[in-house]
Symmetry: C2
Subunit: 279 residues, 2 copies
Amino acid sequence: MEWKEVSANRSFSGWQKVYDHESEACNGTMRFGLYQPENIDGDELPLFVWLSGLTCTHENFVTKSGFQAMADKFGIYVVAPDTSPRNQNIEGEDDSWDFGSAAGFYLDATQEPWSKAYNMESYLIKELIPQVIHKFPIDRDCIGISGHSMGGHGALTLGLKHSDLFSSVSAFAPICAPSQCPWGEKALGNYLGQDKEAWKDYDACELIKAGKFQEQLLIDQGVADQFLKEQLHPHLLVEACKDAGIGLELRMHQEFDHSYYFVASFLEDHFHWHLNQWG
Amino acid sequence: MEWKEVSANRSFSGWQKVYDHESEACNGTMRFGLYQPENIDGDELPLFVWLSGLTCTHENFVTKSGFQAMADKFGIYVVAPDTSPRNQNIEGEDDSWDFGSAAGFYLDATQEPWSKAYNMESYLIKELIPQVIHKFPIDRDCIGISGHSMGGHGALTLGLKHSDLFSSVSAFAPICAPSQCPWGEKALGNYLGQDKEAWKDYDACELIKAGKFQEQLLIDQGVADQFLKEQLHPHLLVEACKDAGIGLELRMHQEFDHSYYFVASFLEDHFHWHLNQWG
Protein backbone atom coordinates (compact mmCIF):
# COMPACT_ATOMS: atom_id res chain seq x y z
CA MET A 1 0.00 0.00 0.00
CA GLU A 2 2.69 2.42 -1.01
CA TRP A 3 1.52 5.69 -2.51
CA LYS A 4 3.48 7.67 -5.05
CA GLU A 5 2.92 11.42 -4.78
CA VAL A 6 2.13 12.80 -8.24
CA SER A 7 1.56 16.42 -7.20
CA ALA A 8 1.21 18.52 -4.08
CA ASN A 9 -0.30 21.99 -4.06
CA ARG A 10 -0.85 24.12 -1.03
CA SER A 11 -4.55 24.94 -1.05
CA PHE A 12 -6.13 27.14 1.61
CA SER A 13 -4.69 25.96 4.96
CA GLY A 14 -4.12 22.42 3.70
CA TRP A 15 -2.73 20.52 0.76
CA GLN A 16 -4.31 19.19 -2.40
CA LYS A 17 -2.38 16.11 -3.31
CA VAL A 18 -2.62 13.56 -6.10
CA TYR A 19 -1.29 10.04 -5.69
CA ASP A 20 -0.79 6.86 -7.69
CA HIS A 21 -1.02 3.46 -6.05
CA GLU A 22 -1.31 -0.13 -7.15
CA SER A 23 -4.73 -1.75 -6.97
CA GLU A 24 -5.31 -5.48 -6.97
CA ALA A 25 -9.03 -5.07 -7.58
CA CYS A 26 -8.44 -2.81 -10.59
CA ASN A 27 -5.43 -4.75 -11.87
CA GLY A 28 -3.04 -1.84 -12.09
CA THR A 29 -2.16 1.69 -11.14
CA MET A 30 -4.95 3.94 -9.91
CA ARG A 31 -4.74 7.70 -9.44
CA PHE A 32 -6.72 9.75 -6.92
CA GLY A 33 -6.91 13.18 -5.35
CA LEU A 34 -6.76 13.70 -1.59
CA TYR A 35 -7.27 17.00 0.20
CA GLN A 36 -5.54 17.10 3.54
CA PRO A 37 -6.82 19.90 5.76
CA GLU A 38 -4.52 21.59 8.21
CA ASN A 39 -4.41 19.24 11.18
CA ILE A 40 -1.47 20.19 13.37
CA ASP A 41 -2.64 18.23 16.38
CA GLY A 42 -3.46 15.10 14.40
CA ASP A 43 -7.11 15.20 15.43
CA GLU A 44 -9.49 12.60 14.08
CA LEU A 45 -11.37 14.43 11.34
CA PRO A 46 -14.21 13.45 8.99
CA LEU A 47 -13.67 11.97 5.55
CA PHE A 48 -15.73 12.94 2.51
CA VAL A 49 -15.64 10.58 -0.47
CA TRP A 50 -16.55 12.08 -3.85
CA LEU A 51 -17.38 9.91 -6.87
CA SER A 52 -17.32 11.56 -10.27
CA GLY A 53 -19.41 10.96 -13.35
CA LEU A 54 -18.95 9.60 -16.86
CA THR A 55 -15.89 10.88 -18.78
CA CYS A 56 -14.29 12.23 -15.59
CA THR A 57 -11.01 11.39 -13.92
CA HIS A 58 -10.03 12.13 -10.32
CA GLU A 59 -9.29 15.64 -11.55
CA ASN A 60 -12.66 17.16 -12.40
CA PHE A 61 -13.92 17.54 -8.85
CA VAL A 62 -10.48 18.61 -7.65
CA THR A 63 -10.12 21.47 -10.14
CA LYS A 64 -13.71 22.50 -10.88
CA SER A 65 -15.87 22.22 -7.76
CA GLY A 66 -14.19 24.67 -5.39
CA PHE A 67 -14.56 22.08 -2.59
CA GLN A 68 -11.20 22.91 -0.99
CA ALA A 69 -12.63 26.11 0.51
CA MET A 70 -15.19 24.00 2.39
CA ALA A 71 -12.87 21.14 3.32
CA ASP A 72 -10.53 23.76 4.75
CA LYS A 73 -13.24 25.66 6.59
CA PHE A 74 -14.81 22.58 8.16
CA GLY A 75 -11.64 20.50 8.58
CA ILE A 76 -12.46 17.48 6.42
CA TYR A 77 -10.30 15.08 4.43
CA VAL A 78 -11.67 14.64 0.91
CA VAL A 79 -10.78 11.79 -1.41
CA ALA A 80 -11.65 11.87 -5.12
CA PRO A 81 -10.94 8.56 -6.88
CA ASP A 82 -10.84 7.93 -10.60
CA THR A 83 -13.98 6.66 -12.34
CA SER A 84 -12.63 3.35 -13.68
CA PRO A 85 -9.53 1.23 -14.09
CA ARG A 86 -7.21 2.43 -16.88
CA ASN A 87 -5.03 0.95 -19.61
CA GLN A 88 -6.28 -2.62 -19.36
CA ASN A 89 -5.91 -3.34 -23.08
CA ILE A 90 -9.40 -4.74 -23.18
CA GLU A 91 -11.01 -4.56 -26.61
CA GLY A 92 -13.63 -1.82 -26.66
CA GLU A 93 -12.36 -0.28 -23.42
CA ASP A 94 -11.93 3.17 -24.94
CA ASP A 95 -14.59 3.02 -27.64
CA SER A 96 -17.48 4.76 -25.89
CA TRP A 97 -17.76 7.55 -23.37
CA ASP A 98 -20.46 5.75 -21.37
CA PHE A 99 -18.81 2.36 -21.01
CA GLY A 100 -15.32 1.08 -20.16
CA SER A 101 -12.69 3.71 -19.35
CA ALA A 102 -14.11 6.53 -17.22
CA ALA A 103 -17.35 4.57 -16.85
CA GLY A 104 -16.67 1.98 -14.18
CA PHE A 105 -20.09 2.44 -12.54
CA TYR A 106 -18.63 1.67 -9.07
CA LEU A 107 -19.42 -2.05 -9.32
CA ASP A 108 -17.55 -5.36 -9.39
CA ALA A 109 -17.85 -6.83 -12.88
CA THR A 110 -18.67 -10.51 -13.21
CA GLN A 111 -18.33 -10.85 -16.98
CA GLU A 112 -15.15 -11.53 -18.90
CA PRO A 113 -13.03 -9.69 -19.85
CA TRP A 114 -14.16 -6.84 -17.59
CA SER A 115 -14.05 -8.82 -14.35
CA LYS A 116 -10.26 -8.93 -14.38
CA ALA A 117 -10.09 -5.17 -13.62
CA TYR A 118 -13.45 -3.42 -13.50
CA ASN A 119 -13.99 -3.83 -9.77
CA MET A 120 -14.42 -0.30 -8.52
CA GLU A 121 -16.58 -1.33 -5.56
CA SER A 122 -13.86 -3.59 -4.15
CA TYR A 123 -11.22 -1.02 -4.99
CA LEU A 124 -12.98 1.69 -3.00
CA ILE A 125 -14.29 -0.37 -0.09
CA LYS A 126 -11.36 -2.76 0.43
CA GLU A 127 -8.39 -0.76 -0.80
CA LEU A 128 -8.59 3.02 -1.20
CA ILE A 129 -10.80 4.03 1.72
CA PRO A 130 -9.17 1.64 4.23
CA GLN A 131 -5.76 2.95 3.15
CA VAL A 132 -6.85 6.55 3.68
CA ILE A 133 -8.21 5.63 7.11
CA HIS A 134 -4.97 3.82 7.90
CA LYS A 135 -2.68 6.65 6.84
CA PHE A 136 -4.62 9.62 8.23
CA PRO A 137 -6.47 10.35 11.48
CA ILE A 138 -10.00 9.78 10.18
CA ASP A 139 -12.99 9.75 12.52
CA ARG A 140 -14.66 6.50 11.42
CA ASP A 141 -18.04 7.70 12.62
CA CYS A 142 -17.90 10.63 10.22
CA ILE A 143 -17.41 9.23 6.73
CA GLY A 144 -19.69 10.67 4.08
CA ILE A 145 -20.06 9.77 0.44
CA SER A 146 -21.43 11.84 -2.42
CA GLY A 147 -21.06 12.12 -6.15
CA HIS A 148 -22.39 13.38 -9.45
CA SER A 149 -24.38 11.52 -12.10
CA MET A 150 -22.74 8.06 -12.43
CA GLY A 151 -20.91 9.07 -9.25
CA GLY A 152 -24.24 9.89 -7.62
CA HIS A 153 -25.32 6.35 -8.46
CA GLY A 154 -22.06 5.16 -6.91
CA ALA A 155 -22.62 7.19 -3.76
CA LEU A 156 -26.19 5.94 -3.34
CA THR A 157 -25.45 2.27 -4.00
CA LEU A 158 -22.23 2.08 -2.00
CA GLY A 159 -23.73 4.22 0.75
CA LEU A 160 -26.72 1.91 1.03
CA LYS A 161 -24.74 -1.33 0.82
CA HIS A 162 -22.00 -0.23 3.20
CA SER A 163 -23.98 1.72 5.75
CA ASP A 164 -21.57 0.50 8.43
CA LEU A 165 -18.83 2.48 6.68
CA PHE A 166 -20.74 5.51 5.41
CA SER A 167 -22.72 7.45 7.97
CA SER A 168 -24.01 10.01 5.47
CA VAL A 169 -24.96 9.83 1.80
CA SER A 170 -25.89 12.52 -0.70
CA ALA A 171 -25.83 12.94 -4.46
CA PHE A 172 -26.03 15.41 -7.32
CA ALA A 173 -28.13 14.40 -10.33
CA PRO A 174 -27.62 10.69 -9.68
CA ILE A 175 -28.59 7.83 -11.96
CA CYS A 176 -31.27 6.63 -9.55
CA ALA A 177 -32.37 3.45 -11.30
CA PRO A 178 -29.66 2.21 -13.68
CA SER A 179 -31.66 -0.94 -14.49
CA GLN A 180 -34.20 1.31 -16.19
CA CYS A 181 -32.14 3.75 -18.26
CA PRO A 182 -29.92 3.45 -21.35
CA TRP A 183 -26.63 4.26 -19.58
CA GLY A 184 -27.31 1.68 -16.90
CA GLU A 185 -28.65 -0.99 -19.24
CA LYS A 186 -25.52 -0.78 -21.36
CA ALA A 187 -23.11 -0.80 -18.42
CA LEU A 188 -24.82 -3.34 -16.18
CA GLY A 189 -25.53 -5.63 -19.14
CA ASN A 190 -21.91 -5.69 -20.18
CA TYR A 191 -20.29 -5.75 -16.73
CA LEU A 192 -22.82 -8.07 -15.03
CA GLY A 193 -24.44 -10.04 -17.83
CA GLN A 194 -27.97 -10.09 -19.15
CA ASP A 195 -29.61 -11.65 -16.07
CA LYS A 196 -31.22 -8.59 -14.55
CA GLU A 197 -31.33 -10.22 -11.10
CA ALA A 198 -27.63 -9.46 -10.83
CA TRP A 199 -28.26 -5.79 -11.61
CA LYS A 200 -30.26 -5.29 -8.42
CA ASP A 201 -27.10 -5.15 -6.36
CA TYR A 202 -26.09 -1.97 -8.21
CA ASP A 203 -29.40 -0.15 -8.48
CA ALA A 204 -30.24 2.25 -5.64
CA CYS A 205 -34.00 1.76 -6.01
CA GLU A 206 -33.68 -2.03 -5.99
CA LEU A 207 -31.31 -1.97 -3.01
CA ILE A 208 -33.81 0.07 -1.03
CA LYS A 209 -36.62 -2.33 -1.97
CA ALA A 210 -34.39 -5.16 -0.73
CA GLY A 211 -34.03 -3.49 2.66
CA LYS A 212 -30.77 -1.55 2.37
CA PHE A 213 -31.15 1.57 4.43
CA GLN A 214 -29.91 5.06 5.25
CA GLU A 215 -32.04 7.22 7.51
CA GLN A 216 -31.58 10.34 5.40
CA LEU A 217 -30.56 11.16 1.84
CA LEU A 218 -30.00 14.54 0.22
CA ILE A 219 -30.25 14.85 -3.55
CA ASP A 220 -29.95 17.97 -5.68
CA GLN A 221 -31.23 17.86 -9.24
CA GLY A 222 -31.31 20.50 -11.94
CA VAL A 223 -34.59 20.85 -13.79
CA ALA A 224 -32.78 21.89 -17.00
CA ASP A 225 -30.49 18.84 -16.78
CA GLN A 226 -30.29 17.42 -20.30
CA PHE A 227 -30.13 13.85 -18.92
CA LEU A 228 -32.95 14.14 -16.40
CA LYS A 229 -35.78 12.54 -18.36
CA GLU A 230 -34.01 9.70 -20.09
CA GLN A 231 -31.31 8.69 -17.62
CA LEU A 232 -31.77 9.87 -14.05
CA HIS A 233 -35.34 9.03 -12.89
CA PRO A 234 -35.35 10.61 -9.43
CA HIS A 235 -39.11 9.93 -9.16
CA LEU A 236 -38.35 6.20 -8.84
CA LEU A 237 -36.05 6.92 -5.91
CA VAL A 238 -38.72 9.08 -4.30
CA GLU A 239 -41.16 6.14 -4.45
CA ALA A 240 -38.64 3.63 -3.14
CA CYS A 241 -37.61 5.87 -0.25
CA LYS A 242 -41.21 6.60 0.64
CA ASP A 243 -42.05 2.90 0.83
CA ALA A 244 -38.92 2.16 2.87
CA GLY A 245 -39.22 5.05 5.31
CA ILE A 246 -36.02 6.71 4.17
CA GLY A 247 -36.05 10.49 4.65
CA LEU A 248 -35.15 11.66 1.15
CA GLU A 249 -34.77 15.36 0.60
CA LEU A 250 -34.91 15.86 -3.16
CA ARG A 251 -34.32 19.47 -4.16
CA MET A 252 -35.26 20.38 -7.74
CA HIS A 253 -33.48 23.48 -9.03
CA GLN A 254 -35.00 25.48 -11.86
CA GLU A 255 -32.69 26.31 -14.78
CA PHE A 256 -29.73 24.31 -13.48
CA ASP A 257 -28.13 21.81 -15.85
CA HIS A 258 -25.85 18.76 -15.47
CA SER A 259 -22.56 20.69 -15.30
CA TYR A 260 -20.04 21.34 -12.56
CA TYR A 261 -21.53 24.85 -12.28
CA PHE A 262 -24.55 23.08 -10.81
CA VAL A 263 -22.43 20.97 -8.46
CA ALA A 264 -20.41 23.99 -7.29
CA SER A 265 -23.57 25.99 -6.63
CA PHE A 266 -24.90 23.55 -4.03
CA LEU A 267 -21.79 21.80 -2.78
CA GLU A 268 -21.50 23.81 0.42
CA ASP A 269 -25.06 22.80 1.29
CA HIS A 270 -23.96 19.18 1.06
CA PHE A 271 -20.97 19.76 3.32
CA HIS A 272 -23.33 21.36 5.88
CA TRP A 273 -25.73 18.49 5.50
CA HIS A 274 -23.07 15.81 6.01
CA LEU A 275 -21.73 17.70 9.04
CA ASN A 276 -25.26 17.69 10.42
CA GLN A 277 -25.63 13.96 9.87
CA TRP A 278 -22.38 13.35 11.70
CA GLY A 279 -23.83 15.33 14.59
CA MET B 1 -21.15 45.20 -30.92
CA GLU B 2 -23.29 42.14 -31.26
CA TRP B 3 -22.45 39.26 -28.91
CA LYS B 4 -22.99 35.62 -29.75
CA GLU B 5 -23.81 33.47 -26.73
CA VAL B 6 -21.57 30.40 -26.74
CA SER B 7 -22.81 28.88 -23.48
CA ALA B 8 -25.01 29.74 -20.54
CA ASN B 9 -24.89 27.88 -17.24
CA ARG B 10 -26.89 28.70 -14.18
CA SER B 11 -24.33 29.23 -11.43
CA PHE B 12 -25.37 30.06 -7.87
CA SER B 13 -28.10 32.74 -8.15
CA GLY B 14 -26.75 34.06 -11.44
CA TRP B 15 -25.47 32.88 -14.80
CA GLN B 16 -22.04 32.04 -16.08
CA LYS B 17 -22.07 32.91 -19.75
CA VAL B 18 -19.49 32.74 -22.51
CA TYR B 19 -19.73 34.98 -25.57
CA ASP B 20 -17.99 35.57 -28.87
CA HIS B 21 -17.79 39.01 -30.40
CA GLU B 22 -15.89 40.73 -33.18
CA SER B 23 -12.96 42.91 -32.19
CA GLU B 24 -11.46 45.55 -34.42
CA ALA B 25 -8.41 45.92 -32.18
CA CYS B 26 -7.72 42.18 -32.24
CA ASN B 27 -8.66 41.71 -35.87
CA GLY B 28 -11.16 38.93 -35.38
CA THR B 29 -13.41 37.01 -33.07
CA MET B 30 -12.68 37.17 -29.36
CA ARG B 31 -14.22 34.94 -26.67
CA PHE B 32 -14.82 35.90 -23.06
CA GLY B 33 -16.62 34.75 -19.92
CA LEU B 34 -19.10 36.96 -18.09
CA TYR B 35 -20.72 36.15 -14.77
CA GLN B 36 -24.03 37.88 -14.34
CA PRO B 37 -25.20 37.94 -10.73
CA GLU B 38 -28.88 37.83 -9.91
CA ASN B 39 -30.06 41.41 -10.38
CA ILE B 40 -33.83 41.43 -10.57
CA ASP B 41 -34.19 45.15 -9.96
CA GLY B 42 -31.47 46.08 -12.46
CA ASP B 43 -29.39 47.81 -9.78
CA GLU B 44 -26.03 49.28 -10.72
CA LEU B 45 -23.52 46.72 -9.48
CA PRO B 46 -19.70 46.57 -9.44
CA LEU B 47 -17.64 45.02 -12.23
CA PHE B 48 -14.56 42.89 -11.60
CA VAL B 49 -12.18 42.36 -14.52
CA TRP B 50 -9.94 39.30 -14.34
CA LEU B 51 -6.89 38.90 -16.60
CA SER B 52 -5.40 35.43 -16.91
CA GLY B 53 -1.83 34.32 -17.38
CA LEU B 54 0.31 32.65 -20.04
CA THR B 55 -1.24 29.60 -21.76
CA CYS B 56 -4.71 30.45 -20.44
CA THR B 57 -7.93 31.21 -22.29
CA HIS B 58 -11.03 32.91 -20.86
CA GLU B 59 -11.86 29.52 -19.38
CA ASN B 60 -9.25 28.90 -16.68
CA PHE B 61 -10.52 31.46 -14.22
CA VAL B 62 -14.13 30.58 -15.02
CA THR B 63 -13.76 26.87 -14.29
CA LYS B 64 -10.92 26.71 -11.76
CA SER B 65 -11.07 29.66 -9.37
CA GLY B 66 -14.45 29.20 -7.71
CA PHE B 67 -15.07 32.95 -8.10
CA GLN B 68 -18.77 32.56 -8.85
CA ALA B 69 -19.53 31.87 -5.18
CA MET B 70 -18.11 35.31 -4.33
CA ALA B 71 -19.58 37.17 -7.30
CA ASP B 72 -22.94 35.74 -6.28
CA LYS B 73 -22.55 36.54 -2.59
CA PHE B 74 -21.41 40.12 -3.15
CA GLY B 75 -23.45 40.87 -6.30
CA ILE B 76 -20.66 41.62 -8.77
CA TYR B 77 -20.41 41.23 -12.54
CA VAL B 78 -17.17 39.47 -13.50
CA VAL B 79 -15.64 39.51 -16.95
CA ALA B 80 -12.80 37.15 -17.92
CA PRO B 81 -11.33 37.92 -21.35
CA ASP B 82 -9.03 35.75 -23.40
CA THR B 83 -5.26 36.29 -23.13
CA SER B 84 -4.53 37.16 -26.77
CA PRO B 85 -5.99 37.40 -30.25
CA ARG B 86 -6.44 34.02 -31.93
CA ASN B 87 -6.03 32.49 -35.38
CA GLN B 88 -4.20 35.37 -37.01
CA ASN B 89 -2.08 33.17 -39.30
CA ILE B 90 1.02 35.06 -38.22
CA GLU B 91 4.20 33.05 -38.58
CA GLY B 92 5.41 31.93 -35.16
CA GLU B 93 2.09 32.77 -33.49
CA ASP B 94 1.67 29.30 -32.01
CA ASP B 95 5.32 28.31 -31.64
CA SER B 96 5.95 29.20 -28.01
CA TRP B 97 3.85 29.17 -24.85
CA ASP B 98 5.22 32.52 -23.66
CA PHE B 99 4.74 34.56 -26.83
CA GLY B 100 1.99 34.98 -29.44
CA SER B 101 -1.24 33.03 -28.84
CA ALA B 102 -2.23 33.03 -25.16
CA ALA B 103 0.55 35.53 -24.45
CA GLY B 104 -0.80 38.90 -25.53
CA PHE B 105 0.67 40.72 -22.52
CA TYR B 106 -2.26 43.20 -22.46
CA LEU B 107 -0.46 45.74 -24.66
CA ASP B 108 -0.86 47.33 -28.09
CA ALA B 109 1.88 46.00 -30.37
CA THR B 110 3.74 48.45 -32.57
CA GLN B 111 5.81 45.96 -34.56
CA GLU B 112 4.76 44.18 -37.73
CA PRO B 113 3.21 41.68 -38.09
CA TRP B 114 1.89 41.68 -34.50
CA SER B 115 0.46 45.18 -34.61
CA LYS B 116 -2.35 44.16 -36.95
CA ALA B 117 -4.00 42.14 -34.13
CA TYR B 118 -2.04 42.03 -30.87
CA ASN B 119 -3.74 45.02 -29.29
CA MET B 120 -5.19 43.68 -26.08
CA GLU B 121 -5.03 47.02 -24.29
CA SER B 122 -7.25 48.72 -26.87
CA TYR B 123 -9.48 45.66 -27.02
CA LEU B 124 -10.12 45.75 -23.28
CA ILE B 125 -10.26 49.49 -22.72
CA LYS B 126 -12.09 50.59 -25.88
CA GLU B 127 -14.16 47.55 -26.77
CA LEU B 128 -14.87 44.84 -24.21
CA ILE B 129 -15.23 46.82 -20.99
CA PRO B 130 -17.26 49.66 -22.57
CA GLN B 131 -19.55 47.07 -24.15
CA VAL B 132 -20.08 45.34 -20.78
CA ILE B 133 -20.84 48.72 -19.20
CA HIS B 134 -23.23 49.55 -22.04
CA LYS B 135 -25.14 46.26 -21.89
CA PHE B 136 -25.35 45.81 -18.11
CA PRO B 137 -26.10 48.10 -15.16
CA ILE B 138 -22.52 48.62 -13.99
CA ASP B 139 -21.63 51.12 -11.26
CA ARG B 140 -18.81 53.01 -12.98
CA ASP B 141 -17.32 54.00 -9.63
CA CYS B 142 -16.84 50.36 -8.70
CA ILE B 143 -14.75 48.74 -11.40
CA GLY B 144 -11.87 46.62 -10.17
CA ILE B 145 -9.17 44.80 -12.07
CA SER B 146 -7.04 41.85 -11.03
CA GLY B 147 -5.21 38.97 -12.60
CA HIS B 148 -2.61 36.27 -12.31
CA SER B 149 1.01 36.24 -13.50
CA MET B 150 0.96 37.83 -17.00
CA GLY B 151 -2.58 38.83 -16.08
CA GLY B 152 -1.30 40.38 -12.87
CA HIS B 153 1.05 42.45 -15.01
CA GLY B 154 -1.98 43.37 -17.13
CA ALA B 155 -4.01 44.35 -14.08
CA LEU B 156 -1.22 46.50 -12.65
CA THR B 157 -0.32 48.27 -15.90
CA LEU B 158 -3.88 48.85 -17.11
CA GLY B 159 -5.00 49.75 -13.61
CA LEU B 160 -2.24 52.35 -13.30
CA LYS B 161 -2.68 53.77 -16.82
CA HIS B 162 -6.46 53.90 -16.68
CA SER B 163 -7.04 54.93 -13.10
CA ASP B 164 -10.09 56.90 -14.27
CA LEU B 165 -11.69 53.60 -15.25
CA PHE B 166 -10.39 51.26 -12.54
CA SER B 167 -10.97 52.31 -8.97
CA SER B 168 -9.25 49.26 -7.48
CA VAL B 169 -6.31 47.11 -8.57
CA SER B 170 -4.91 43.88 -7.19
CA ALA B 171 -2.87 40.97 -8.51
CA PHE B 172 -1.71 37.42 -7.86
CA ALA B 173 1.95 36.62 -8.56
CA PRO B 174 2.24 39.39 -11.16
CA ILE B 175 5.15 40.00 -13.50
CA CYS B 176 6.08 43.23 -11.74
CA ALA B 177 8.88 44.45 -14.01
CA PRO B 178 8.61 42.86 -17.46
CA SER B 179 11.49 44.95 -18.78
CA GLN B 180 13.76 43.03 -16.43
CA CYS B 181 12.72 39.37 -16.82
CA PRO B 182 12.98 36.81 -19.63
CA TRP B 183 9.22 36.55 -20.29
CA GLY B 184 8.90 40.30 -20.56
CA GLU B 185 12.06 40.85 -22.58
CA LYS B 186 10.90 38.35 -25.16
CA ALA B 187 7.36 39.68 -25.38
CA LEU B 188 8.05 43.41 -25.18
CA GLY B 189 10.98 43.11 -27.58
CA ASN B 190 8.90 41.37 -30.21
CA TYR B 191 5.67 43.33 -29.78
CA LEU B 192 7.22 46.77 -29.17
CA GLY B 193 10.68 46.61 -30.74
CA GLN B 194 14.13 46.77 -29.24
CA ASP B 195 13.98 50.39 -28.06
CA LYS B 196 13.40 49.88 -24.35
CA GLU B 197 11.90 53.37 -23.97
CA ALA B 198 8.76 51.97 -25.54
CA TRP B 199 8.63 49.19 -22.96
CA LYS B 200 8.11 51.63 -20.10
CA ASP B 201 4.47 52.04 -21.03
CA TYR B 202 3.89 48.36 -20.19
CA ASP B 203 5.99 47.92 -17.08
CA ALA B 204 4.27 48.53 -13.75
CA CYS B 205 7.44 49.69 -12.03
CA GLU B 206 8.28 52.14 -14.82
CA LEU B 207 4.71 53.45 -14.94
CA ILE B 208 4.85 54.19 -11.23
CA LYS B 209 8.19 55.94 -11.61
CA ALA B 210 6.60 58.03 -14.36
CA GLY B 211 3.84 59.16 -12.01
CA LYS B 212 0.99 56.73 -12.73
CA PHE B 213 -0.84 56.19 -9.50
CA GLN B 214 -3.25 54.10 -7.49
CA GLU B 215 -3.63 54.83 -3.79
CA GLN B 216 -3.62 51.17 -2.80
CA LEU B 217 -2.52 47.89 -4.32
CA LEU B 218 -2.95 44.36 -2.98
CA ILE B 219 -0.63 41.63 -4.19
CA ASP B 220 -0.49 37.99 -3.10
CA GLN B 221 2.61 35.99 -3.90
CA GLY B 222 3.51 32.38 -3.14
CA VAL B 223 6.97 31.84 -1.73
CA ALA B 224 7.22 28.41 -3.42
CA ASP B 225 6.25 29.92 -6.78
CA GLN B 226 8.60 28.38 -9.36
CA PHE B 227 8.69 31.66 -11.32
CA LEU B 228 9.23 34.01 -8.41
CA LYS B 229 12.97 34.54 -8.64
CA GLU B 230 13.49 34.71 -12.37
CA GLN B 231 10.29 36.31 -13.65
CA LEU B 232 8.20 38.13 -11.07
CA HIS B 233 10.42 40.52 -9.06
CA PRO B 234 7.93 41.86 -6.52
CA HIS B 235 10.80 43.59 -4.65
CA LEU B 236 11.11 46.06 -7.55
CA LEU B 237 7.43 46.93 -7.20
CA VAL B 238 7.86 47.38 -3.45
CA GLU B 239 10.61 49.94 -4.10
CA ALA B 240 8.68 51.77 -6.79
CA CYS B 241 5.54 51.98 -4.65
CA LYS B 242 7.49 53.17 -1.64
CA ASP B 243 9.09 55.99 -3.61
CA ALA B 244 5.75 56.98 -5.13
CA GLY B 245 3.70 56.83 -1.95
CA ILE B 246 1.48 54.01 -3.18
CA GLY B 247 0.11 51.85 -0.37
CA LEU B 248 1.18 48.40 -1.53
CA GLU B 249 0.16 45.44 0.57
CA LEU B 250 2.35 42.55 -0.55
CA ARG B 251 1.47 39.31 1.16
CA MET B 252 4.04 36.51 0.85
CA HIS B 253 2.57 33.05 1.40
CA GLN B 254 4.82 30.21 2.52
CA GLU B 255 4.56 26.98 0.51
CA PHE B 256 2.14 28.35 -2.08
CA ASP B 257 3.06 27.90 -5.75
CA HIS B 258 2.02 29.53 -9.04
CA SER B 259 -1.12 27.42 -9.59
CA TYR B 260 -4.82 28.14 -9.49
CA TYR B 261 -4.90 26.45 -6.08
CA PHE B 262 -2.99 29.50 -4.90
CA VAL B 263 -5.37 31.91 -6.64
CA ALA B 264 -8.44 30.13 -5.28
CA SER B 265 -7.04 30.17 -1.74
CA PHE B 266 -6.88 33.98 -1.54
CA LEU B 267 -9.46 35.10 -4.09
CA GLU B 268 -12.15 35.88 -1.54
CA ASP B 269 -9.69 38.19 0.25
CA HIS B 270 -9.34 40.11 -3.02
CA PHE B 271 -13.08 40.44 -3.43
CA HIS B 272 -13.31 41.81 0.11
CA TRP B 273 -10.43 44.16 -0.60
CA HIS B 274 -11.96 45.52 -3.81
CA LEU B 275 -15.31 45.96 -2.04
CA ASN B 276 -13.48 47.94 0.62
CA GLN B 277 -11.79 50.14 -1.97
CA TRP B 278 -15.14 50.87 -3.56
CA GLY B 279 -16.35 52.01 -0.14
